[in-house]
Amino acid sequence: MRSVVLFVAAFFLYTYIYAVETFELRFDKSYKIEPKNFSKKFQSSKISKSGVTATWIKIESLDSLKLKDLCVGSGKIIRLMSNPELLGCFKNSQITFQTQAYKEISYYNIHTFDFKNKIAQDQIISFFKEMKYVQE
């Protein structure tokens, strides 16, 4: 009996920890994240919330993302968050943005969320509403 309780407790602990926090981005329980890891060089996951599904990849980078260059053409720069400010390039049902764990260290994570279906700007903003970005 004891081991069953411990097993269940550990399972929930594992699920909880794994689901809610990833790097400087924190996701609450309304997001379902399934890591896929197709590559050893970047992290890939399937992420969904309220019926909206995306493929999320995260690449670590020592170079800052040039949002304007990336968004040239049909892209549009949109604000996902104000404090700290988080701008992303919305283009072809994809949103790409950059996070930085420490303001003073030039080490970045570049995230791209590729939405499975065509998605509107307000849906994107709504998708990231419960996501937290913690920067020091």
């Binding site: 411990l6 690449i59 670590e60 980078s61 420490y102």
Partner: protein
């Protein structure tokens, strides 16, 4: 196979025994990808992460060709993708040729990275590896020196990640100052063309019949292809621009017919691949700590140290051709000694021989025939190693050796100087010879060389065991924790839990690897044979305790599974029969006719020695594969 509940059960086990596994699955940066509890920093089961781009490209090419074999209509797409991938790699190679080092005198603070110099080409890999090591050591043993300050922090993992990011950022800035990091337009086009060609290939693979191996092939290809693109693009600062392409490609893979039709063989299996690696590494650490291989290593080194009196003269007497004479380090010393005794005329010949000998290249006495070094540089190296010693006596010997070498050079230069008039030259030579006489008397060459071997041996025990491999090559040993393990009971208990809960998973994996190896042999796929052969050898030899130890449900907390060796393991013996011929430097598969405690002692000795011999075993394996195309023919 590996499931979440097994992970959880393992966490419970570790919580019960106090092993700090929280970082394995914690939210700390990178931890979910790479960190695992314990102290062995790298392990043979994680070797794929270190694949070079060239290896990756070869592996992708092999998978692509198999895809084309299964689905002939993909042949053209495969050819295109292959060509584009090669063009990316060629440029990468050219770029890497400009890898002028920085931090040229900097040694990595971590034992497993010792002897490796950070340069613009390797800093990402080495710093990342070191950070993984630091994370895995939290709460277990001391951190690498770069991360010492993190040990007592509230959140050591966060502290480590911060320092890691800072180091990467600084290294990058250093390299950018010396290298042209701008990517030319042509290369950008090539990378995007490669990404495009692969997306096309994935899309078109949906029209192919799905065979049993299609999902695995597609995953192998994708994984390698994406790694190449991601690696190359990140090196070029192209991560932002390529991330959208990668996301689209990953998305199309998730939607691909082959993968969606065979979930068990596809994503499920891929996830298990990396999870298995982590579990195998945890076992590898536990097994080696449980068997106290660290102590065995010290015992082995001590035993060898006692025999050094025999090996050292051999090393000194080792001759190498030099004109009409056979030269050796011993003759160097004899010549040096003769300088002080002889007159100018008589010593001229000795001086000529010294000049000749100093310029000779010899196989590096430690790093083996692969690295040649001039005698002069070897002398300088001996001096450098002694100078870095903690003992004053060694440092003093280093000074004396430097002085002797300096005076020798001066003596030779003066002797060869044609501009000096005879009387002046003679006076100069006498003056130097007198200094030389005083200094060489204080210097004991044999002792200096002997201390050099000892000092090198402390960082690379393989040296003393005469293993001719690169200094950092003997990972199995270098990766072990420093110091004596004080957590043996916990280690034993956790080992018991692991054997109980993961034995079946390991056996299934072993069977799978054996099947893959046999299939690759049948297909004549050289790359796949090589990869599966190594996996098979690693499982059968490096993780053998998992298969050969025994657990008994009720008294799991009172004994040590690794002291209960059972050689009658049908599945293990059957799967590992493929490596039964590996016998360099001794039989790799364990066998013994002893029983009980003696059998357990035998196993410990065998297993720990196998770790020490790892490089030789891999060399033997590769030699056999090259010669016959199989491990055992």
């Amino acid at each position: 196979m590996f499931k979440n509940n097994q992970i959880s059960l393992f966490i419970v086990c570790c919580f019960l025994v106090g092993i700090p596994v929280k970082f394995v699955f914690s939210a700390s940066a990178r931890a979910d990808q790479t960190a695992y509890a314990g102290v062995v920093e790298t392990c043979p089961f994680k070797s794929a992460a270190d694949q070079s781009v060239t290896d990756l490209v070869d592996s992708v090419k092999s998978s692509l060709n198999q895809l084309a074999k299964d689905c002939p209509q993909l042949s053209e797409r495969v050819r295109q993708a292959e060509q584009k991938l090669i063009s990316v790699n060629v440029n990468q190679k050219e770029r890497n040729s400009d890898n002028s080092g920085y931090y040229s005198n900097m040694q990595s603070p971590n034992p497993s990275l010792d002897g490796l110099t950070l340069n613009c080409r390797n800093y990402k890999t080495l710093l990342t590896r070191e950070q993984e090591i630091a994370i895995s050591r939290i709460g277990v043993t001391s951190l690498p020196s770069r991360y010492y300050s993190c040990a007592n922090r509230d959140d050591p993992a966060q502290c480590i990640n911060k320092i890691f990011m800072q180091s990467m950022s600084e290294s990058s800035a250093n390299c950018k100052a010396t290298l042209n990091d701008k990517l030319d337009e042509e290369m950008t086009k090539k990378i995007f063309a490669a990404a495009d060609s692969f997306s096309d290939l994935v899309r078109e693979s949906n029209s192919c019949p799905v065979t049993q191996r299609t999902p695995q092939l597609l995953l192998n290809t994708s994984s390698g292809f994406l790694d190449v693109l991601a690696g190359v693009s990140m090196n070029f600062g192209l991560a932002g621009a390529l991330s959208g392409f990668l996301a689209k490609t990953v998305g199309s893979l998730l939607d691909s017919q082959a993968l969606s039709d065979s979930p068990k063989l596809a994503i499920y299996q891929l996830e298990n691949e990396s999870n298995f690696e982590n579990i195998a590494c945890i076992w590898y650490q536990l097994q080696n700590r449980n068997l106290r291989c660290q102590e065995y290593q010290v015992e082995a080194v001590n035993a060898q140290t006692n025999r050094r009196a025999v090996t050292c003269p051999e090393y000194l007497n080792n001759t190498f051709a030099g004109g009409n004479n056979l030269l050796s380090l011993k003759s160097l010393m004899q010549n040096l000694n003769s300088i002080e005794k002889n007159s100018e005329e008589n010593s001229a010949e000795s001086l000529d021989e010294i000049v000749d000998l100093m310029k000779k290249k010899i196989p590096h006495p430690i790093e083996g025939p692969g690295k040649a070094i001039t005698v002069e540089n070897h002398m300088a190296e001996i001096s450098e190693v002694l100078a870095a010693s903690n003992l004053q006596k060694d440092r003093s010997q280093a000074e004396k050796l430097n002085r002797v070498m300096h005076l020798t050079k001066k003596l030779v230069a003066t002797h060869q100087d044609q501009t000096l008039v005879s009387s002046k030259k003679s006076a100069e030579l006498d003056k130097i010879r007198k200094e030389f006489q005083t200094d060489i008397k204080k210097f004991n060459f044999n002792e200096a060389v002997d201390r050099y071997w000892v000092l090198k041996g402390q960082t690379a025990p393989s040296v003393l065991l005469s293993i001719e491999s690169s200094l950092a090559g003997n990972k199995a040993i270098l990766n072990m924790s420093q110091g004596i393990d004080t957590n043996i009971p916990k280690i034993q208990l956790t080992s018991n839990f692991m054997v109980k809960n993961f034995n079946i998973m390991f056996e299934k994996r072993l069977e799978l690897v054996r099947r893959r190896y046999d299939a690759a042999l049948k297909d004549g796929d050289t790359q796949a044979v090589k990869s599966h052969a190594l996996q098979l050898m690693n499982l059968c030899s490096m993780a053998s305790g998992m298969f050969l130890s025994s657990v008994d449900g009720d008294d799991i907390q009172v004994y040590n599974a690794l002291r209960r060796i059972n050689l009658d393991k049908g599945k293990y013996n059957k799967a590992c029969s493929a490596i039964s011929c590996l016998d360099k430097p001794k039989k790799v598969l364990f066998s013994s006719d002893k029983k009980g405690k003696e059998l357990a002692d035998d196993f410990r000795k065998h297993q720990c020695q196998t770790l020490l011999d790892y490089d030789i075993i891999v060399e033997d394996l590769n030699r056999r594969l090259t010669a016959t195309g199989a491990i055992c023919k």
